[in-house]
């Protein structure tokens, strides 16, 4: 049987499919390239934080936000004065200072890490609204970003000349945001700090995280001090003194072994968790590394110094906790997908390195369990020390009104305002006086202890290429924990890779 394969004026099924394939090629492969090559459109959230959301969804929204922001930014650039813009419409997007018609009203774009609706309500009522009422011509417009997408959004905004006037950031991103000498994307605060009497009220170790090349590029905002939290009931069950937390590695190992509970081969409770999770494993190793007196970088911050005796001991201890002491399963107890599923809160882990956020979790989701929480100071081997994180506020160098941006920044870190932020996020603040006097700190003794633990906090210095080295150390530690390499082999190889990455980052940034 024969059917003519060519019909005049019609498209055969095969032709249609061929055309569809052509379209698919374009629609499938090209956007991937486009995603890398779009100037300001070079974004994507993505997958950010484990919640690390939908790549494409955020990509789209980022592009949209950036594009519109750029439009406003261009109008700013085209305006006759540098500090004000003249526009009939109200500013539609967060961007550089925009000013409305006929007046010299400045609207500053403020990008902060997402607060939940309740926190947002309090923060606006007690911090932003009073600021905006002070001077009708100086307004702050708050927009939220998340830890998952903040880095890309801010970088993309910088590439598109549409940076917010002030934004919240993590210390490890500072080198990327600052850029090269003479081409900085952040405003140096040195000239303003000279007359700022609050500057000595910040913990000196957190001020280090915003200082690079001898200049201050932002002000510390939220503190993330770490200490040990443990479940008293698990200690009692294991015939341990519930008021006596571990203070050394040996005590940690002994107590973790005793509090570990197995049901068959399943860990009903891990004594101490060693998760194999990007960034988390490295952070835990950093604690042990610092406690053995390790130094993350060499003197001039050009090379990592992980393969020292301290580094090797720390990696070996991490591996021993899993393989020798068997305090948790290989890979660790998986983190929950929401704060309410935190395995420590659910009693699946007995001893945990924690930040004060854990206390907030308990208060919100398991208030009756708060009394079961015991607090332990950072462990001491050669040094009593723990990793110190946190976040900071920065002014973009693109801001059209630096003085106004400084006014807002100064207000945000004022004792009254930073106390509100600390209270709504249930964390200690970065200001010494506030941690000593704030009512919410006095009402929660655990928070006070976390604030005090700040004195043992040590940050990881911020250098270009730090992001890549975090992944390198993670892979090295993972291979040690999985028994694929000895600590020395893994760390020697990691140091070589990391140093090459740092050298390349310096080349890119210079």
């Amino acid at each position: 049987m024969q059917v003519p394969s060519q019909r005049v004026g019609t498209i055969s099924r095969r032709n249609l499919l061929q055309r569809l394939i052509g379209v698919s090629l374009a629609a499938g492969a090209l956007p991937l390239l486009a995603a890398c090559g779009g100037t300001a459109a070079v974004t994507s959230n993505s997958a950010a934080q484990t919640s690390q959301a939908a790549f494409s969804a955020t990509q789209t929204s980022s592009i949209a936000a950036t594009s519109s922001a750029r439009v406003v930014a261009s109008s700013v650039a085209a305006a006759p004065t540098t500090s004000v813009t003249v526009s009939a419409a109200a500013p539609a997007t967060p961007t550089a200072a925009a000013v409305q018609a006929g007046s010299k009203k400045v609207t500053l774009a403020l990008w902060m890490i997402q607060l939940n609706p309740e926190q947002d309500k309090t923060f606006r009522a007690k911090v932003l609204d009073p600021f905006n009422k002070q001077d009708p011509n100086l307004q702050a417009e708050l927009n939220y970003i998340t830890w998952g997408n903040a880095q890309q959004k801010v970088l993309t905004a910088m590439a598109g000349n549409a940076s917010p006037d002030i934004f919240q950031s993590a210390p490890q991103w500072t080198p990327l945001f600052i850029g090269a000498a003479g081409k900085e994307n952040l405003l140096s605060l040195d000239p303003y700090l000279a007359s700022f009497d609050g500057k000595n009220d910040f913990y000196p170790n957190v001020m280090n995280s915003v200082t690079m090349r001898g200049h201050v590029w932002g002000l510390p905002y939220g503190a993330d001090t770490r200490a040990i939290l443990y479940r008293k009931s698990a200690f009692t069950e294991a015939s341990l003194d519930p008021e006596k937390p571990p203070t050394t590695w040996q005590e940690l190992a002994t107590m973790a072994v005793k509090t570990t509970k197995l049901t068959g081969s399943t860990f009903a409770r891990a004594g101490y968790n060693v998760p194999i999770v990007l960034f988390t494993t490295g952070q835990q190793w950093t604690n042990f590394f610092y406690q053995q007196g390790g130094s993350y970088y060499n003197q001039d911050l050009t090379q990592v110094a992980w393969n020292s005796e301290a580094g090797i001991m720390a990696a070996q201890f991490q591996a021993d906790l899993v393989n020798k002491y068997r305090t948790c399963p290989l890979g660790g107890i998986p983190a929950g997908q929401t704060p309410a599923q935190d395995p420590f809160m659910l009693g699946k882990i007995a001893i945990s390195d924690s930040g004060s956020g854990t206390v907030l979790n308990f208060k919100q989701y398991a208030p009756t369990e708060v009394a079961d929480l015991g607090f332990g100071w950072p462990l001491k081997e050669k040094q009593q020390v723990m990793f110190l994180g946190g976040n900071s506020l920065h002014i973009s160098s693109e801001t059209k009104t630096p003085q106004d941006a400084w006014t807002l920044l100064k207000d945000l870190v004022s004792p009254a305002a930073i106390e509100v932020y600390g209270e709504v996020t249930s964390t200690p603040t970065t200001r010494i006086s506030v941690n000593q006097n704030a009512q919410y700190m006095k009402e929660t003794p655990l928070l006070q202890k976390f604030a005090e633990a700040g004195q043992y906090g040590k940050t990881v210095p911020t250098v270009p290429g730090a992001g890549q080295t975090s992944t390198i150390i993670h892979t090295a530690l993972e291979s040690v924990i999985r028994g694929k390499a000895t600590p020395k082999e893994a760390l020697d190889a990691a140091v070589q890779q990391a140093n090459a990455a740092l050298a390349e980052a310096r080349k890119t940034q210079s």
């Binding site: 090629l25 499938g28 090559g37 980052a505």
Partner: protein
């Protein structure tokens, strides 16, 4: 069978050319038509040029520079490509990606076709079954990944519970370097199966019943009918599923990123994840662009090979 044949079928334009005065009018008409045609496609072409072509060319340009986004690009010639060829993580990501493609695409085709053949039969509740199999495709990759993350949880996951019922030892799944990629591939096949099934169903319904009737008269059994009618006539459909599945599989990102972030021991690190990490986490946009160009070339190469090997002209 009589074929629709247009005797002396010529376009109006050709006919107009044949006769003097009409020729001039005809040419004018063609020009006007062409002008309007261009006007109509202009918006789409402009959008394509602005949001696809320009960024693609820009990517090619950026791949020849050192670029951290926050600092202006600096000329690097082919340095990013040289680094890429020496980067063990690039080769690992490429290998993982190819393993993912080879593991999922044939499964999509075989299982998708099998399901389509079953659901093309006059079964009771067929519409419900079709919808059920297509449902996973409607779930977002993020939500699906989170669900499967719970299923694969080695301590409290459903899958280990099921193994326990049969007295089989619990597995580490996503924590095991050898099981992680197959586990992610299983999720991907589960999610993509409905789409492949739908396209095959459409293809099956495009095959005229007439052929099957004729074959039945000739005494062909079920296998012979599948072998000589269904399979050859589904070739364009299969080819379409093959090419689109390959392209999709090469771009896998969300599932491994959410479930394993490339671990354990980089065994689920894919090329797109590498692009993302380098571009947006490490500030190596030049290098990430070079990776994107290489991925583009790999996808193009695969598509051309597919085109050469599987694009057959089958008509009866």
């Amino acid at each position: 069978m009589a074929a629709p044949v247009h005797k002396g079928a010529t376009s109006p334009l050709v006919r107009a050319r044949a006769s003097g005065r009409h020729a001039v009018r005809g040419a004018g008409l063609a020009r006007r038509e062409a002008t309007w045609g261009l006007i109509f496609i202009a918006p789409a072409m402009l959008l394509f040029a602005a949001f696809s072509l320009y960024p693609v060319l820009w990517t090619l340009g950026i791949s020849l520079t050192y670029y951290s986004i926050a600092v202006a690009p600096k000329w690097a010639a082919l340095d990013n490509y040289r680094v890429l060829l020496r980067d063990p993580l690039f080769w690992k990501a490429l290998r993982n990606t190819v393993v993912f493609v080879v593991g999922t695409v044939p499964a999509h085709i075989v299982l998708g076709l099998g399901l389509a053949l079953l659901l093309n039969l006059p079964l009771r509740g067929r519409a419900l079954l079709r919808s059920s199999y297509y449902l996973p495709g409607v779930v977002s990759a993020v939500a699906a990944s989170l669900i499967w993350l719970s299923i694969y949880n080695p301590q409290a996951g459903l899958l280990n519970d099921v193994l326990g019922w049969f007295h089989l030892p619990p597995q580490l799944w996503l924590q095991d370097p050898d099981q992680a990629m197959p586990a992610i591939m299983a999720l991907s096949v589960w999610q993509g199966l409905g789409g492949a099934m739908l396209i095959f169903l459409a293809g099956l319904q495009g095959i005229p019943q007439l052929y099957y009737d004729a074959a039945a008269i000739d005494g062909a059994n079920g296998w012979a009918r599948f072998r000589h009618i269904t399979w050859p006539l589904l070739f364009p459909t299969t080819f379409f599923v093959l090419v689109t599945s390959c392209i999709g599989a090469f771009q896998v990102f969300q599932q491994p990123w959410i479930m394993t972030q490339g671990g354990p021991l980089n065994r689920t690190l894919t090329l797109v994840m590498s692009i993302y990490l380098n571009g947006f986490q490490y500030g190596r946009m030049g290098y990430a662009s070079a990776l994107a160009v290489v991925l583009f070339v790999v996808i193009l190469g695969f598509s051309l090979v597919n085109l050469r090997l599987f694009n057959r002209d089958v008509e009866y």
